[in-house]
């Protein structure tokens, strides 16, 4: 016979238990505090040094984080761990490296930078990370990256000279460039017959109800919200103005009502599959999309637009070596491997994103039919980097404000 559950505690018992709980909680608290992990960056300066194109930064190298020594042998039989976006590294490039050094390479993926940084902080042992300069300050301040020993990376001479002294990492102490890209609008001519590029405000096409359920925006808070700012003619894409952010929030709500866009980073496969007709797109995704077109459909169906004067979002991604990684020598060698012209070009054809290699000029790419004629404006010209707008790192308060707007949008606030 089961025991009845009981009529519940009486008043005295309840007070007794509450008193015990109240006394126990701080003890439990103290116990857990003793067990908890050290909080990380409490000692260093609470504010970040934000690098800007007009105020370049040379990062300090901490004493306990010196670069590795010269001429060390690569680690044998190791597994090199790379943390990257999905489909953002050519399998052939990986295989070439594996064969050359007799090691295994393992690629883990993330969906966006926020998720990646949180993961990196939780004590994983990746060797290489595909970073963006919107994170570089946090990465360096938070002691997550390892400085480079340049003697392992002679192939740096193959990339554009400006990358040996970029404003976000003077003297390329921590980073090597990986890809360069612009952020514009991509569309399929069969679903979107209009020439978006000829409109007076191409970004506004995303709000056009005629394209309902066919649109998409990039699942990155900064990129998507910067596009909204540009649509309204505001060129400070790192603004901290409350009024501007409020406007962005309202515009995003209007966007959901008008066309109900997907929020994703897979437009490179969704658009060729016909799921999306018009999208905010990274230039590399457009080229990558050509690889995913079904049989019988040619690349003429895809189009891309980016402001001709280069006054749009221009960025580059970088590769960094992580302090928690167990294979620093291999990590250096891999970075060198990716800067090799042949490897970089093969990577380009596999992932669609252009590397800043000296040998790949706009003319040579078109002449070799590497890029279809109708997608010529995908090619990133060096001049863009002078006129374009960069999405920079935001300081903590501004970051919070931007995230609040993005959060509200993602909660389907309409």
């Amino acid at each position: 016979m089961p025991v009845p559950i009981g009529s519940g505690p009486n008043r005295r018992q309840f007070l007794q238990r509450a008193a015990i709980l109240a006394a126990a909680a701080p003890t439990v608290g103290a116990f857990l505090a003793a067990c908890s992990k050290p909080a990380g960056t409490q000692g260093s300066a609470p504010s970040l040094t934000i690098a800007k194109p007009d105020s370049p930064v040379k990062w300090p190298i901490a004493d306990d984080n010196k670069p590795i020594g010269d001429s060390l042998p690569p680690e044998k039989g190791a597994t090199l761990k790379i943390y990257n976006y999905a489909d953002y590294l050519s399998p052939q490039a990986i295989k070439g490296f594996e064969d050359q050094y007799g090691v295994k390479v393992e690629v883990s993926t993330f969906n966006d930078g926020d998720e990646a940084i949180t993961k990196l902080r939780s004590g994983v042992d990746f060797d290489i990370y595909n970073a963006n300069y919107t994170e570089i300050s946090r990465l360096v301040t938070g002691n997550l990256v390892r400085p480079l020993n340049h003697s392992y990376i002679p192939n740096i001479s193959n990339v554009w000279p400006s990358f040996t002294n970029p404003w976000y990492d003077q003297g390329w102490q921590y980073t090597v460039p990986y890809t360069i890209y612009t952020t514009g609008m991509g569309w399929r001519t069969d679903q979107v017959p209009a020439d978006i590029g000829k409109l007076s405000n191409p970004y506004a096409a995303l709000w056009d109800p005629a394209y309902k359920d066919k649109t998409a925006i990039i699942d990155d808070f900064h990129t998507a919200m910067a596009m909204v700012l540009l649509k309204q003619g505001i060129t400070d894409v790192n603004t901290s103005s409350e009024a501007d952010l409020k406007m962005v929030g309202e515009q995003l709500s209007a966007l959901v009502k008008a066309t109900s866009p997907k929020v994703t980073i897979t437009m490179y496969s969704d658009m060729p599959a016909g799921q999306i007709g018009l999208s905010q797109m990274w230039s590399g995704d457009v080229i990558n999309a050509v690889n995913y077109l079904p049989e019988g459909v040619g690349p003429e169906i895809l189009r891309y637009w980016f402001p001709e004067d280069g006054k749009g979002l221009v960025d580059n991604d970088m590769l960094v070596t992580l302090k928690g990684g167990k294979n620093p020598v291999l990590a250096h060698l891999f970075l060198n491997h990716m800067l090799d012209p042949a490897v970089a070009k093969e990577n380009f054809s596999a992932i669609g994103y252009q590397p800043p290699q000296n040998s790949l000029t706009a003319d040579s790419l078109v002449a070799e039919s590497f890029i279809p004629e109708n997608l010529k404006n995908v090619i990133v010209k060096p001049e863009y980097f002078d006129t374009g707008y960069r999405t920079l790192e935001l300081d903590a308060d501004n970051d919070a404000a931007w995230h609040n707007v993005w959060n509200a949008f993602n909660a389907g606030g309409s």
Binding site: V3, I5, G6, L32, C35, S36, K37, K81, Y83, A86, D87, P91, Q92, K95, K104, E106, V107, S108, T109, K119, S122, G123, V124, F126, T264, T266, Y268, S269, Y292, P294, E295
Partner: protein, 301 residues
């Protein structure tokens, strides 16, 4: 039975409707329709795993390309898919091996122990049975990343989370079975001189075997399919099982290799169930107190 006047005979559609002994065609129809709706999409996905082209919606011919043909992306050649498969099996075995004994002992103990503490423990166990998985996953993620525990994110954390989530399953099944068996066999053994522990070991446990076995099979099936917990507690692609791999790749650019991987897992699970069922029937061949059909195997005593 309603009185039948000579005019109201059991003929024609009205008669068919009124016949209380007619075959339940409508319900049978609903059941068949449900089974088709439930299983057909999976069969189509399996079919496309044999597709010759890259598409998962356009049939382009039959081939084993995605199983072993394609040099880089087929299941045979893609190391990341092997890792995922191995991780799934590793998690399944480890979690089952820990959760089932834990749950069985818990059930036996709580069933016989009288008092407030065990009923509280019972309530806790039942709550862990119905709690939405994401709550537990987030809580464990916070715990593993904030406390300096001897393990970090990765297989250990995943196994711990899975065991916590699954331990209620064997506990519930064994308790139900204990209730059905009743105390008489154990009491008889003790009357005949056995100690409590002996009676437990030699009389009750063998009688619980079908329930234990059924719960092992069910926990294994649940664990190899688990998604939320293992994703939050993983620390890189080496610790991502098949379910996470499918999720990650499905949102990017999946090839039919994914269908092939899922088909292989399906075959493995199917083989496990068939073997398990045959063993179950062998184990219960002399047992009168349990059913021997598939229902009993699934734990519905």
């Amino acid at each position: 039975m309603s009185v039948m006047t000579p005019e109201k005979t059991l003929r024609g559609p009205v008669g068919w409707w009124r016949d209380p002994w007619r075959r339940p065609r409508i319900l049978a129809g609903i059941t068949i329709a449900y089974l088709v709706w439930s299983l057909l999409p999976v069969l189509i996905a399996v079919m496309f795993s044999f597709n010759d082209g890259r598409s998962r919606t356009n049939w382009q011919g039959f081939s084993f390309r995605w199983y072993w043909g394609d040099q880089t992306k087929s299941v045979w050649h893609d190391a990341s898919l092997h890792t995922a498969l191995l991780q799934t099996l590793k998690l399944g075995l480890l979690s089952t091996l820990i959760a089932v004994p834990l749950g069985v002992l818990f059930a036996i103990g709580v069933d016989r122990w009288r008092g407030r503490l065990p009923s509280g423990a019972n309530v806790l166990m039942l709550i862990s049975f119905v709690i939405p998985e994401v709550l537990l996953a987030v809580a464990l993620l916070f715990m593993v990343t904030s406390l300096a525990l001897p393990f970090g994110l990765g297989t250990s954390a995943q196994v711990i989370g899975l065991v916590t989530y699954q331990v209620a399953y064997p506990a519930v099944l064994v308790r139900a079975r204990l209730a059905t068996i009743g105390p008489q066999y154990e009491e008889a053994a003790m009357d005949l001189g056995a100690s409590q522990l002996d009676a437990l070991r030699r009389v009750t446990l063998p009688m619980l075997m079908p329930a234990i076995f059924a719960s092992t099979v069910l926990v294994f099936a649940d664990v190899i399919d688990d998604f939320v917990l293992v994703r939050y507690l993983s620390n890189g692609s080496a610790t991502e099982p098949v379910s996470v791999k499918i999720y990650n790749t499905a949102r990017a650019a999946p090839t039919p290799a994914l269908n092939a991987l899922a088909t292989l897992l399906l075959l493995a699970a199917f083989a496990a169930v068939v073997i398990g069922y045959l063993v179950f029937r062998r184990m219960t061949r002399n047992d009168d107190t349990t059913g021997r059909g598939i229902a009993a195997f699934a734990g519905e005593t």
